[in-house]
């Protein structure tokens, strides 16, 4: 264990965190291995599948395509940060549950991040806009249909709140 480490401090889900890691540690490995926030998943490590999608300052990024050290001081939101303050499901999460938009649950966290980012910027997206927004997240279980339904349902429910 002679590899040099660097202190990385971030704000994750509203809390300051820090850990010493080798420079080559990607953000997703930092979140999972150092912070034990295992909700963010690894699917390809080359930026194609979207399973590792998290928010950086509110916008989705691939956490396998950035080294943690590059983000010093920045604000990250993971799936663990999407729930309401009391720990209950957010409208989007609840809509996923209602529409059965998850099966194995592996792509789900990244899918939720992409969908939530969309809704933050575009509260009333069309089905086509939803499809574009989640096209960076591959899912093998759902054929996307119930996910598109869930995001549309969440948008409607948010509009009523």
């Amino acid at each position: 264990m002679t590899e040099k480490t660097i202190l990385v401090s971030l704000e994750v889900n509203g809390k300051p965190v820090s850990a010493r890691v080798p420079a080559r540690t990607t953000l997703v490995d930092f979140l999972r291995d150092e912070l034990r926030l295992t909700g963010t998943h690894v699917g390809c490590e080359h930026g194609t599948c979207g399973a590792c999608t998290v928010m950086l300052d509110g916008e989705p990024i691939r956490s396998c395509l950035v080294f943690a050290v590059q983000l010093e001081g920045q604000r990250i939101t993971t799936v663990e940060g999407l729930t309401k303050p009391d720990g209950s499901l957010s409208i989007l999460q609840d809509s996923f549950a209602e529409a059965h938009a998850q099966q194995c649950g592996y792509c789900t966290p990244g899918m939720l991040i992409s969908a939530q980012s969309l809704l933050n910027n575009n509260p009333q997206p069309s089905d086509d806009e939803i499809r574009v927004a989640i096209s960076s997240n591959l899912c093998r279980c759902t054929g996307y249909q119930q996910i598109v339904n869930a995001v549309g349902m969440a948008a409607e429910r948010m509009a009523k709140e």
């Binding site: 490590e45 549950a97 059965h100 649950g105 899912c139 759902t142 054929g143 996307y144």
Partner: protein, 797 residues
């Protein structure tokens, strides 16, 4: 006549949803054990070579390195893995010894403190190879002059047999017309977003191996123990690991034997989570790679008289259960059609490619492609509407149970109605108008139909069919239900899940039988030493088998409660009325015992128990597959699967003639899987299956170069369709209950996938027909379609 159910068939959120939606799932890579070590693999760059030497000196000197293992040591201390057919000289280990047989085959495993360090060291392992001739093409591999993949086996042919069921020769002699063609299912797979992963820990004092894995595999602990030369009870597989997608595929037995050996050797927990490169090249998870030579005999009225199918499947360099993927389709070899004379000639061949593993449908989806192309070829030959042709040949509703020539009896179905419902739901006349107006505007447009079966209830009767030395006749599953002192119900299942919602399934079934609210029922996954027998969620079986086992256990429990009530109320068992878990004497509702009282008696009051009743409150049920238990006849007839779900796909596709690019404009699937226990779950799997079939039909392929190198080893070039390639999907349900199952349910775990690729292939061919072109090879990529359209053009360039 549909039964009225209290919970079955109702809208219900899955029990699994909250943990997956909050990032609280427990996938294998989420499990952290103190002192855990990590594995990286050194893989062969050659498709075929002799290993001359392995030098690990520099690698050993790297920081964090704990162990470096080669095939010499590993093969000396473990036993070969299971091979599904009778080929005793074929050996298969996780690490190559002396020779490598495919590019990506594992040669050396490096254990280090971190995965990154393991990779650092793996880069420094020096392996000297001497390349030897390789063969990639399955037809070349069957030739006498082909290089032998396993010389000790004597041939590259792993399995071959010609089955003749019914008067095939006469049918071909007498039929008025015949058509023959070749159709090819490309090498694709399920490629879940989670790769395979395993974590193993050896407890020396207990002589016990703990395993957590992303697994969906029958007889996994047993095979693992055998390969490790351990008694079965020295292996404890934890089934409470969430599996990130599998669809038949996650059978990481070689990974597990390797990691378990290393864990024991290193004296620390060792984990191996495949990275995507290892997964694609050496994860041994490619799917069927199969061509069919089909000859069909029929009369001018469209009635099919006979069918000859030669199927050649390329399993790659090693085999586990993969050759058996030619066996399962025997269960539905004539599809939903009345065909009385069938010849089926399956050949399993080895090449220098990554080995094949079980994929959703276990070989049925490619076979359905061959059958559905057959129907369209016949229709085209006769100038008949392909829908009309199918209707003419369908087994009719009044013919069930229906015995097909290969020995399976279909349980139930109503194919005409499901197809009619699908056509009505998509507004077929309007669909035709849309196609024709697209054509009138100069576009290429086509409609595709497929009507396919999903054999379900996963049995393994193809094992004795394909291997006379294997007389396995049971493929049971089980469930344990217990009620604790608080009155809460827990269901225990003996296998892991990969998104199928089994916890919801078991809770719903237990709730239905016991008349208790399913949301309050907990369902857990036992470990393999605590579990009742299971054969894992393969072969579209869990609604039937786990559902049936849960119902059986719940019924036993309910009978116990009723006996307990009768004993304490002083009446006959038949006089007890049971409602919502509470009991009363018939005609006297005042006299009764509530659920809570009965539970209390069972747990605390031995003096109130009937004679010989066990205290506590639990019941288990182990269920054999309905219709299972038989062995094949000499001519290879056998009942394989019990239940037959049906799906009718209809779609409209448009092809950009200038670029070859296809776009699905409308898609609908009519689906009948009997009684649905949870419609959302069934629909979800069906949508997913359709999308998976879209991938197989248009995008996904493990392509090989002539040099034997995998050319699509990343998710950048193995093209899983996104939400932009999968169109809006619609499903219309129909319910023909199965007479063989507890509630009339059939399987649906492979639904959608079993007919979508076939329907898309038919649609593309309908689109190309006005140009006089056809395409019979999947995937039909932009390039492949363009090449077809410009066949003469590209030949002259």
């Amino acid at each position: 006549m549909e039964q009225a159910f209290k919970y079955i068939g109702a809208k219900r959120r899955t029990k699994e949803a909250p943990r997956f939606l909050t990032g609280s799932g427990r996938f294998v890579a989420d499990i952290h054990l103190p002192g855990m070590k990590h594995v990286a693999i050194v893989a062969s760059p050659h498709p075929s070579a002799r290993i001359i030497s392995i030098n690990t000196e520099a690698a050993r000197a790297m920081p964090g390195v704990r162990y470096i293992l080669d095939g010499e040591e590993f093969c000396a201390h473990t036993d070969t893995l299971y091979v599904g057919v009778d080929a005793p000289k074929l050996k298969r280990y996780a690490l190559a010894r002396d020779v490598v047989r495919y590019s990506g085959e594992w040669v050396v495993a490096v254990v280090a403190d971190s995965r990154a360090q393991a990779e650092d060291a793996a880069e420094l392992v020096e392996v000297e190879y001497q390349a030897t001739p390789h063969v990639i093409d399955p037809e070349l591999s069957l030739r006498d002059d082909a290089p032998l993949i396993h010389p000790e086996h004597g041939s590259n042919q792993l399995y071959h047999r010609k089955f003749v069921w019914g008067p095939v020769e006469a049918a071909f002699r007498e039929a008025e017309e015949r058509v023959s063609f070749r159709v090819t299912w490309g090498r694709s797979s399920t490629v879940p977003i989670e790769t395979f992963g395993v974590l193993a820990q050896w407890h020396e004092a207990d002589q016990l191996l703990d395993v957590w894995a992303s697994i969906q595999m029958p007889k996994y602990p047993d095979q693992l123990a055998r390969a490790l030369r351990l008694p079965g009870n020295a292996v404890r597989v934890h089934y409470d690991v969430d599996v990130g997608g599998s669809f038949g595929l996650k059978r990481g037995i070689k990974h597990t034997v390797l990691v378990s050996y290393l864990a024991r050797k290193v004296g620390a927990p060792v984990r191996f989570i495949e990275d995507r490169l290892e997964n694609m090249r050496g994860g041994d998870m490619h799917g069927p790679d199969r061509f069919f030579d089909v000859e069909v005999a029929f009369n001018r009225d469209g009635i099919i008289k006979g069918l000859r199918i030669r199927a050649v499947d390329d399993v790659g360099a090693y085999a586990g259960r993969s050759p058996l993927q030619l066996g399962k389709p025997v269960s539905a070899i004539c599809g939903p059609y009345q065909i009385h004379a069938i010849e089926y000639e399956p050949t399993s061949v080895m090449t220098n490619k990554t080995p094949q593993e079980a994929v959703r449908g276990f070989g049925q989806a490619p076979t359905n492609l061959a059958l559905e192309r057959t129907m369209d070829h016949v229709a085209r030959h006769l100038g008949m509407d392909p829908i009309e042709l199918r209707r003419k040949n369908f087994i009719r509703k009044d013919q069930f149970p229906y015995l097909i020539p290969s020995g399976s009896t279909y349980d139930s179905g109503d194919y005409h109605t499901v197809l009619d419902k699908a056509l009505a739901a998509i507004d077929y006349p309007e669909l035709l108008r849309q196609r024709d107006s697209l054509r009138a505007a100069g576009a290429l447009a086509g409609i595709g139909i497929s009507t396919c079966l999903e054999p379900s209830g996963g049995n393994s009767a193809f094992e004795p069919l394909f291997n006379a030395k294997n007389d396995t006749t049971t493929w049971m599953d089980s469930c344990l239900v217990r009620v604790d002192l608080s009155g809460a119900i827990t269901g225990v299942m003996g296998t892991s899940s990969a998104g199928q919602g089994h916890e919801t399934l078991v809770a719903t079934v237990l709730g239905e039988v016991l008349e208790r609210e399913p949301d309050k029922i907990r369902v857990v996954h036992a470990d393999s030493l605590n579990a009742l027998p299971s054969n894992s969620p393969v072969g579209s079986r869990m609604a039937i088998m786990l559902g049936g086992a849960a119902a059986g256990a719940a019924r036993k429990l309910k009978a116990t409660l009723i006996r307990l009530a009768a004993h304490n109320l002083g009446c006959a068992i038949d006089d007890i009325e049971y409602a919502d878990g509470n009991t009363s004497v018939r005609g006297n509702p005042e006299r009764g015992l509530s659920w809570d009282k009965l539970v209390e008696i069972a747990h605390r009051k031995f003096h109130l128990l009937p004679p010989e009743m066990e205290p506590g409150l639990q019941a288990s049920f182990v269920w054999e597959v309905p219709t299972g238990g038989g062995l094949p006849t000499e001519d290879g007839r056998i009942q394989i699967y019990p239940c037959y779900s049906f799906e009718a796909h209809v779609l409209l596709i448009k092809i950009d003639a200038d670029t070859g690019r296809p776009k699905i404009l409308k898609y609908l699937c009519g689906h009948d899987c009997g009684v649905m226990i949870n419609p959302d779950v069934v629909h979800g799997m069906t949508y997913g299956g359709i999308a998976h079939g879209i991938g197989a039909a248009l995008y996904e392929k493990f392509a090989y170069t002539e040099e034997g190198e995998l050319a699509s080893g990343t998710l950048m070039d193995y093209l899983i369709p996104s939400s932009m390639e999968v169109p809006e999907l619609h499903i219309v349900d129909h319910c023909t209950p199965s007479p063989l199952t507890t509630f009339g349910q059939k399987g649906s775990g492979e639904s959608g996938y079993l007919g979508s690729a076939a329907a898309i292939c038919n649609a593309v061919n309908d689109a190309l027909a006005p140009r006089g072109k056809s395409i019979e090879t999947l995937p039909m990529s932009n390039l492949a379609i363009w090449n077809t359209l410009h066949a003469t053009l590209s030949a002259t360039r």
